[in-house]
Amino acid sequence: MDNLPSVNEQRRKCLRMLAVGGAWAGLWAAGLLQPLRALAAEWNKPAFDAKALDEALKSIGATTPVESSQIQLKAPEIAENGAIVPVEVTSGIPGTQAIYIIADKNPQPLVAIFDITPGIEPFISTRIKMGESSKVRVLVKAGDKFYVATQEVKVTIGGCGG
C-alpha cells in the first residue's frame, strides 16, 4: 500500500535528472541505491513546525476535513497532568490510511502521524503532551479525503515546559 513511485518511474526520473546534470543527479542516484524503506516519507518538518492550526492542516493536505461520527476518540475530560494525556483513536472509516493527532492550542498543533497499513487495525493508543486546555483533534485520511473528530480536553497542569 505504498504510494511511492515504482522503481522504473524513479529510474526514468533519475535518467532525466542525469541528463540535466548538476548536484541533483548525485542525490537521485544515491536515492536509488538505498533500500526501499529509506524512501518512505521524510519526517514532515513543515507540518510539525507549523505554529498555527490551519498551517498544520494545510501541510498534511487536510484543508477541508469532514466531521465524522465514525471516528471514536477517547481522551479525558479533564487531563490530570498535561504532560501525559492518554489518547485513543479507533477509525470506523473504510480504507483508513493514516491517523493524525493534533492539539489545537499546542505551540505546534501537530503531535503525531500514524500510517495505517492494512496490516494493522485502524486503532492507535498513545499519550501526548498538552500545553493548555484545548481541542484534541483527530484526522483520518481515507481514499483522498480527510475526516475529523474533536474533543475538548481541559488541562489544569500544562505539560510542555516542565
Binding site: R37, V85, F114, I120, E121, T126
Partner: protein, 100 residues
C-alpha cells in the same frame, strides 16, 4: 524499550513502552538555567515478519517515555514483531518479540 504482545485469534495486540526524554526544547536545566535542547523520537516503525505494518512520525509533544498500542492483523503464533525508533539526533533502538 519494553514490548507486550498478546495474540487473540489472528489479531496481535501490541503495547510498547519506550524510554526516551522527549525533550521539547522548552525546559530549562534546573541547575544551570540553560535550555535543554530538543531531543525526541521522530519515527517509529513496526514490522510483522519483516514487513512494515505501521510507520509513525512523532513530534516532541508525544509524552516522555512514550507509549503506543496498536493491533496487528493476520498474525499467528511464531510470527516476529519488531518495533524500532529513531530520534532527531539519529539515535535508534529496536525490540523484537515472537508471538505465542
Amino acid at each position: 524499550m519494553k514490548i507486550r504482545a498478546q495474540l487473540k485469534g489472528d489479531v496481535a495486540d501490541v503495547k510498547v513502552l519506550m524510554f526516551h526524554p522527549m525533550e521539547t526544547g522548552l525546559r530549562k536545566d534546573p541547575i544551570t538555567g540553560d535550555i535543554i535542547p530538543m531531543h525526541f523520537i521522530q519515527r517509529v516503525v513496526a514490522t510483522l515478519n519483516g514487513k512494515t505494518v505501521m510507520d509513525a512520525q512523532w513530534s516532541q509533544a508525544v509524552s516522555k517515555n512514550p507509549f503506543v498500542n496498536f493491533r496487528i492483523r493476520g498474525a499467528k503464533q511464531g510470527d516476529k514483531v519488531t518495533v524500532s525508533w529513531e530520534d532527531n539526533k539519529g539515535e535508534k533502538a529496536s525490540i523484537e518479540t515472537t508471538l505465542n
